[in-house]
Amino acid sequence: MISVTKLTKIFGDFKAVDNLSFEIRAGDVVGFLGPNGAGKSTTMKMLTGFLPPSSGEIRISDMSMEQSSKAIQKQIGYLPEGAPAYGDMNVVEFLSFIADIRGLKGQLKHKRMEEVVRQVQLEEVLRRPVENLSKGFKRRVGLAQAIIHDPDILILDEPTDGLDPNQKHQVRELIKHFSKDKIVIISTHILEEVTAVCNRAMIIAAGRMLFDASPADLQKKSRYYQAISLHFTQLTDISGLAELPGVADMEVDRHNGRVTLFPEGEQDLMPVVSAYIRDRGLQVDTLYQEQGRLDDVFRQMTEEVTA
């Protein structure tokens, strides 16, 4: 369990992290969201014991970071931003070095190294120097070193940054498989990633916590949550749609003629709308319920703070 109380970090006269408090329990997969420079990386650097906080306290597994950072670091696997690694070593040498420092020995070390190499699919580059690897492989080497000791807590700073869609998918699968009874914290500014892998989303901007709940709750904050989008095949009189019970507002896109109906509260408009269409024999070529547009929510929340 991670418990953070009133965490603050000040660089000179710049407040990077401002009075953050939260608790993370085993099984939580937390997505750290926020614009660039919001304090995500700084928070992670403090959680991993790299930076000392200016004030506030971090306790992990009932140990204080200040007093027993080395014991805490044994439980954490960390992928720093940009996945730094020793370029002059090859992949096997690098992983072996990390395994040695993590105190893995003999058979166990061998087994773990084979396992992570298989998990992140590094087989084809084992003997290549890290500095000659592509961005995707470098990131995977970084992931491999973070999970080599099977840590209870995995902290990944932008794990999918710069990866192609296939690689992103692999990394997400890996995180999903990993997470069962452990803690995973990932930072990202890709919102779909949070809905894909996390069961908890935290939005940070200007060092402050703006939102901390499930990704579904985040979607609910969107104006588009459960809104109905539809498009008629022919030109149709749509004025009746706005009068339907439960419809709060209607928007028509002038360019493509797409109609969006916003519900009052959390009402499900689908039955009413589909009945309306059926009754009048209208022809519709698209009709669906929106899940909520995270980008909008994100922009709305963070712009208020940074403006």
Binding site: K45, F50, P84, G103
Partner: protein, 244 residues
């Protein structure tokens, strides 16, 4: 201690994974040969010892040791690996010690590879080999002091070039403070006590007797303390500057 060994091994191998160690050893051997024969007149003196060889070591180290020390922390900070390293369960002290020992061994290896010179004087005459061994050890110890300064300077900056220049300047001060140029300049208006203190801070003063094969406890102690102080200063610098 296991961690020190792990760090040591990584650092040592990395010297040889890149051309750094090879170039260093080659240049060291060439320069020490040139200095001993052309400037030190090893042959012409007609004496079976290696004094001309050892006498040039402080000046050789002045430029070569900072070159091997400059990457130790600068590169970690530049490439961001410092964040990786310092979030692993290993202390800065262990990292520092591992780094120092690895570079020190490279220096020791370079020294050891000058053995043809030793064979030469043994072929030409019958030198006191005890003196030569003692001088080798003394030289290695002094190299460690240069190295500790270099590593500390490397901890201060992300730029290897800046680290190199700073290290050369600081080492230069330490070498020169015992030379006749500096001491003569101060003679007369500095009290003899202060003058002695100044001279006693110099690498030259402490290496002088070692080069002649005299291993005195205070000389050894001096270099060990210098190494300790500079590595500790480096430790503080890393702690302070790691986030920048």
């Amino acid at each position: 201690m296991g961690n020190v060994l792990t760090i040591f091994r990584r650092e040592f191998l990395s010297f040889f994974a890149t051309p750094v160690a090879y170039v260093f050893i080659l240049i060291f051997l060439m320069l020490s040969g040139v200095f001993s024969f052309y400037i030190g007149n090893l042959y012409e003196r007609g004496q079976a010892d290696l004094l001309p060889f050892f006498n040039f070591h402080p000046w050789l180290y002045l430029f070569l040791v900072p070159a091997i020390a400059m990457r130790s922390w600068s590169e970690e900070r530049k490439s961001g690996t410092i964040e990786l390293l310092m979030t692993l369960p290993v202390s800065i002290f262990e990292i520092m010690l591992g780094k120092f020992l690895a570079a020190w061994l490279v220096l020791g290896l370079s020294l050891a590879l000058t053995f043809p010179l030793w064979l030469t004087v043994n072929y030409l005459g019958s030198p006191d080999n005890g003196i030569i061994v003692a001088a080798y050890l003394g030289s290695w110890l002094m190299a460690g002091a240069f190295l500790a300064i270099g590593i500390c300077m490397s901890a201060l900056t992300k730029s290897q070039v800046v680290a190199f220049i700073l290290a050369v300047v600081v080492c230069f001060i330490f070498v020169l403070s015992g030379s006749s140029i500096v001491l003569d300049a101060f003679t007369g208006w500095l009290s003899p006590l202060l003058l002695d203190t100044l001279a006693s801070l110099s690498f030259l003063t402490h290496f002088e007797s070692m080069a002649k094969g005299v291993i005195a406890l205070d000389d050894v102690g001096y270099f060990v303390i210098v190494i300790g102080i500079w590595l500790y200063a480096g430790l503080l610098a890393v702690e302070q500057k790691k986030a920048e």
